[in-house]
Amino acid sequence: MTAESFTLVDGDHVSAVPASVIEALVAAGDRPLAIDRDEGVAYLGETALVRATRLASLEAPDFSLPDLDGRVHSLSRYRGQKVLLVAYASW
């Protein structure tokens, strides 16, 4: 069973689109697209080219994320300091 309309998630941007838009995105194939046809949801990711080009430029990509209190911090705010970025997890 395939949904007739989809929720398309593109980063923070969420829109309702007809199935024909999803098929057009599949045909275009220029960004990674994950689709759940039963649930009627699709997610547009970022290409390896965009990510790899940015990393190879050595300019750190900016990001904004919340702390435990919901306060949002951006990497760019710490420009002018040396930053040790540590990714970890409870698992």
Binding site: Y43, R51, A60, L65, L84, A87, A89
Partner: protein, 204 residues
């Protein structure tokens, strides 16, 4: 601990930023509350930082200088020796390297050397991240069963990616220390531990 390093070096124009790749703030909360960090301690349920920096396992550290340049790419480093018996990696060396960098006592890697040490994402890695993100969206909208299909697909596309394969276990009703993890670890070890590459301590 990273908090102690942050306090020790903050007067040199340095900060630690930790990012928890967890399914919820509550999963990371006990760790953060125990560490009582005075540095930014962030929650990244959507693996935004993993996507931007091609992070495939934890812990992963990067050095970013005053001009927002990556001066030491993704590296495996532990703040403590808790896992030394498993990984063979002592924390002291990586902490000493950070100190030398922050105090300006270490020769920096050249841009060419940094690029040679980087692992850049492939099309499959990025498709895996899209599958993960779709699964994450579905999970957050109460569709855990559908989510699990995309987490599994993501893991097939990027079998070396622990942030996907192990990190989604709590969202698939699996124990991230349990038999599925041990099977995954054995497969990964048999495959020659792809992507696992502790960097040299210093240049040269």
């Amino acid at each position: 601990m990273w908090q102690a390093l942050h306090e020790e070096l903050r007067d040199f124009g340095f900060t630690v930023i930790t990012v928890a790749l967890d399914k919820s703030a509550d999963d990371a909360r006990p760790w953060i509350e125990a560490a009582r960090p005075s540095h930014p301690s962030l929650i990244d349920t959507g693996h935004v930082v993993a996507d931007l920096f091609n992070i495939v396992n934890v812990p992963t550290i990067l050095w970013i200088d005053e001009r927002s340049r990556i001066v030491r790419p993704n590296d495996v480093a532990f703040g403590t020796d808790t896992f030394k018996h498993i990984t063979g990696l002592a924390s002291a060396k990586s902490l000493a390297a950070v100190r030398a960098w922050v105090r300006g006592e270490a020769a920096a890697f050249t841009a060419e050397e940094i690029r040679a040490l980087q692992s850049l994402p492939t099309a499959d890695d990025q498709q895996a991240r899209a599958e993960f993100a779709l699964g994450d969206w579905l999970f957050r909208h109460g569709r855990a069963e559908a989510a699990a299909r995309h987490f599994v697909r993501a893991g097939e596309l990027a079998p070396h990616d622990f942030t996907i394969r192990r990190g989604t276990m709590p969202m698939r009703g699996l124990d991230p220390m349990g038999p599925e993890f041990r099977t995954m670890l054995a497969e990964w070890t048999a495959a020659g531990r792809p992507y696992y590459r502790p960097l040299p301590d210093t240049r040269g």
